[in-house]
């Protein structure tokens, strides 16, 4: 019977011996020092999502995610907390309501409704959200992202006051001196924080504002200041020379303490759901009679037109105010009133107003200038030996889908998981994916081994329960 004992003992031994896979290789910093991290940028850096800024958005910004990963590095070159952001108090949205998903009803088709983004109902601004946060923590901030800011704004004195007057009080919430320039603010924060590492993601607004305004601004790249010497019209595309000068100024301020860092380039703003959700050929005709009616209606017009049963390009107003039929590649903005399309004849007998349309010319301006800006950012990265994060290429792959731990993220509006309800800014998950891409670039550039983030752990779009 002794042998049975042996078998029994072995069984107990094996049953108690569970495998474990603990890879306890501590991440290393490589040649960079992540102990003191400063994030410079715009709304993407601030954590803007669902069309507004909320404290949840800030706490799930990509700089917050990066900081968490940087702090996994042990020793003196790992990030030390806390990560200081000019935090809001509420999740209502500031200064206006965030979007949530809700049911909207058609104005002309009884019983027709859809699940779509609506402003947070019964919105009230939390008064504490407006609290000035610039002086807390000994005037130190790790994230100085300002929603809406352009590279061109960096020389504008009183930027915080000008934007506040325009109803965009983000800079005014924490700038140490509202009469100063963003560049001076940056210098001030750098002096106080003395960062060892920074990320700089600026420039998207220098083209995006033009795009979201449907090309209603100067897109030629020859715009002149509306408020001389340095303040350009919000919807103008920043001239390349101005962009280069201001970007260089900001970058030199960022590296004044000898910090290493990463420059993140500008995504193709026109590939986000804000521009790709409403199809330019969304005019669906079901009967030949409809096509004939439209043909007759526009019969006198000299431009090319095709009306047939099936999908047709909308009638739009071009950037000179003339009606014509949209052509392949042109984009309709998400903000176009759906009821006007379905109930008021927009896109058929009434051209869709130019401010809701990006025409071929306008798109060309946007894409050319994005490429020019990115070329300069890349040049600066090489010149200053900084990591260059090609987030443009990465986000470009979203249109075909990025699979992460079994979840397929796409640039589809609402359902794609990566973009929030404003169609431009990422969800928490989208920001985590972006942080992962930044980490990948940092690791290969600095030889660090910062682990990636489980993006699926964070929130995507919130689908409501109940009716």
């Amino acid at each position: 019977m002794r042998r049975i004992y042996i078998i029994g003992a072995m069984a107990v031994l094996f049953a108690g011996c569970k495998p474990s896979v603990n890879i306890t290789k501590a991440p290393i910093a490589g040649s960079a020092d992540f102990s003191n991290y400063l994030a410079i940028g715009n709304s993407l850096t601030a954590g803007y999502t669902d069309g507004s800024l909320t404290v949840s958005g800030q706490l799930n910004s990509y700089p917050e995610r990066l900081f968490e990963q940087f702090s996994l590095i042990q020793g003196s070159r790992g990030a030390k907390g806390p990560f200081l952001q000019p935090l809001l108090n509420s999740d209502n949205g500031y200064p206006g309501p965030k979007f949530i998903l809700g049911i909207t009803h058609s104005a002309c088709i009884p019983g027709d409704s859809s699940l779509s983004p609506i402003p947070f109902p019964n919105y009230v601004q939390d008064p504490t959200d407006a609290t000035y946060t610039g002086t807390t923590n000994n005037f130190q901030l790790n994230n100085i992202g300002v929603p809406g800011i352009k590279v061109a704004d960096y020389r504008v004195a009183g930027y915080a006051l000008i934007t506040q007057a325009a109803g965009v009080p983000y800079a005014a919430r924490f700038y140490h001196d509202p009469t100063t320039t963003p560049l001076d603010e940056l210098k001030y924060r750098v002096n106080n924080l003395y960062p060892t590492f920074f990320t700089l993601w600026l420039g998207a607004n220098d083209v995006l504002a033009y795009a979201t305004a449907g090309g209603q601004g100067d897109g030629t790249g020859n715009a002149t200041p509306v408020l001389p010497p340095y303040f350009y019209g919000p919807n103008d595309i920043t001239p390349l020379a101005v962009f280069d000068t201001c970007y260089d100024l900001a970058l030199n301020a960022a590296i004044a303490t000898g910090a290493s860092g990463a420059l993140i380039n500008i995504p193709d703003v026109t590939s986000v759901p804000f521009f790709t959700t409403v199809p330019a050929n969304g005019l669906t005709l079901t009967r030949q009679g409809q096509a004939d009616t439209l043909q007759a209606y526009w019969g006198a017009a000299t431009w090319n037109k095709v009306f047939q049963v099936g999908a047709n390009y909308f009638i739009i107003e071009d950037n000179k105010g003339n009606p014509r039929q949209a052509v392949p590649g042109e984009l309709i903005l998400l903000t176009v009133p759906q009821d006007s399309l379905t109930c008021a004849g927009w896109g058929t007998t009434k051209p869709i107003p130019a401010k809701y349309v990006l025409t071929t010319d306008e798109l060309q301006f946007i894409r050319n200038m994005t490429a020019n800006y990115n070329a300069y950012i890349k040049f600066e990265a090489q010149l200053h030996h900084l990591a260059y994060v090609d987030i443009n290429a990465y986000l470009g792959t979203l249109s075909s889908g990025i699979v992460f731990n079994g979840v397929n993220y796409t640039s589809q509006f609402v359902t794609g998981g990566a973009f929030s309800l404003d169609g431009i800014h990422p969800t928490q998950r989208g920001y985590a994916l972006i942080a992962n891409q930044i980490i990948t670039t940092i690791n290969s550039f600095y030889g660090s081994t910062i682990p990636s983030i489980d993006a699926n752990k964070y929130h995507g779009v919130n689908f409501p329960n109940g009716n």
Binding site: I7, A15, K18, V21, T24, G406, N408, D454, G460, N465
Partner: protein, 408 residues
């Protein structure tokens, strides 16, 4: 009516999955204790599975039954994260009755009921791979009526028809969520289906002399087809219309296996050597076809690309006395799963198996057996590229079998 639901994309991430090197090799206790060998040596009625050609070599009709509780444990890790599968016990069993229809007869008949597959894995709730698999279990039971004929003292042949039934249960999370503050609810997908399939099991037993025996077997592939399984989705009500309760069809192949075995006896010691060639490459992809489609619920087609494997097995049986025998064995079981296709539903890797056991014959016609098998996979760092999910896996399995046979 929420007609124009903007949700018009593939919400089901197209990565639901299950399957894997799901075959069990626990159909007889003495064979289990001897490293899974048994093609060349018809020890008892369990030869109905191991080599139907050996059934006519038995002395008479025998009843055999065993149960083998199996406890698998799998660990997953990256340099950021680790997870362990939840503890689970599976209980495959075998039952055989058969032998020569009367003493000295050349013709033998028998029936086997056994468990060719029956494992699964349950990961912690909402673990990092939960969108790929939260839990999966595939179990099958084969019923095999068998006929064997002793052509001569040298040659004996046999064959059986296999009818298989089984069940599949699978669950995962879905990337649709609803949350209020920190109270977050992820969507869930559940598949449940019953499978059936048919096949056969053929064997040839060659008795060169009492001390040298050879076996050749071929078990056909059994395609376990699932039709009209239940697919249930639990999602926020605002998208429920996109996730209807529907049916699905699928198919899981249990692979064909060709085996050769040699047995050699010297005195009280019997040594067996088997080679199994397993046709895993039939598991090229996993398809799930839903009866009802929506933009969010689309048919799935996952690449698996399993490869055929060659498994060597060694076993020894030592007759300690007239009533007691000891067994031991080992095997090296290479994985059918190639790099890039290592999915957490069955994160297979090359396995090393060691086993031992004892048989005791307390009464002239009655034998009881106990067997133990320990399996450990080599640590494997790989990925499931289809779901972009990578990590390091290790699996350990403990099986403890108890059973008896009785000569009628």
């Amino acid at each position: 009516m929420k007609k124009n639901l903007l949700a018009a994309a593939l919400l089901l991430s197209a990565t639901t999955s299950f399957g894997g090197g799901y075959q069990l090799n626990l159909q007889g206790l003495r064979q289990l204790a001897m490293g899974g060998t048994g093609v060349a040596w018809p020890w008892d009625a369990s030869t109905i599975f191991y080599n139907p050609g050996g059934l006519a070599r038995l002395k008479g009709i025998q009843v055999y039954a065993d149960v083998v509780p199996v406890i698998p444990n799998t660990a997953y890790g990256t340099n950021m994260y680790s997870a362990q599968s939840k503890p689970q016990v599976f209980t495959p069993f075998s039952f055989y009755i058969g032998g020569p229809i009367q003493e000295g007869s050349r013709l033998a008949i028998g029936l086997g009921v056994y468990t060719p597959a029956g494992l699964g894995i349950t990961w912690p709730d909402n673990w990092a791979g939960s969108n790929i698999v939260q839990a999966v279990q595939f179990s099958a039971i084969f019923v095999q009526p068998t006929v064997s004929y002793r052509v001569s003292d040298f040659l004996s042949v046999g064959g059986g028809f296999v009818y298989g039934t089984g069940t599949l249960d699978y669950s995962s999370t879905l990337p649709v969520e609803t949350y209020v503050g920190n109270n977050d609810t992820l969507g869930k997908a559940k598949l449940h289906g019953t499978a059936t399939g048919v096949g056969f099991n053929l064997g040839v037993h060659l008795k060169v002399n009492d001390n040298l025996q050879v076996g050749l077997t071929y078990r056909s592939q059994v395609n376990m087809g699932i039709s009209s399984g239940d697919a249930t989705f639990t999602v926020p009500t605002s998208v429920a219309a996109n996730f209807p309760h529907t049916q699905f069809d699928s198919q899981l192949p249990l692979p064909q296996v060709a085996s050769i075995g040699v047995g050699y006896r010297t005195g009280d010691l019997t040594l067996l050597f088997d080679l199994n060639y397993t046709g895993w490459n039939s598991f090229d992809s996993l398809r799930i076809n839903f009866a009802q489609h929506t933009p969010a619920v689309q048919d799935l087609h996952e690449p698996r690309h399993y490869r055929n494997t060659l498994t060597p097995r060694l076993g020894a049986n030592y007759k300690l006395s007239k009533t007691v025998a000891l067994m031991a064995g080992a095997c090296y079981d290479p994985t059918p799963v190639t790099n890039g296709f290592v999915s957490p539903d069955l994160p297979d890797a090359d396995r090393i198996v060691g086993s031992c056991g004892i048989s005791v014959k307390p009464l002239p016609r009655f034998t009881v057996m106990a067997a133990f098998e320990g399996t450990s996979s080599l640590k494997r760092s790989s990925s499931y590229d289809y779901a972009n999910f990578a990590g390091t896996y290790q699996t350990q399995v403990v099986a403890i079998g108890l059973g008896f046979y009785y000569n009628l």
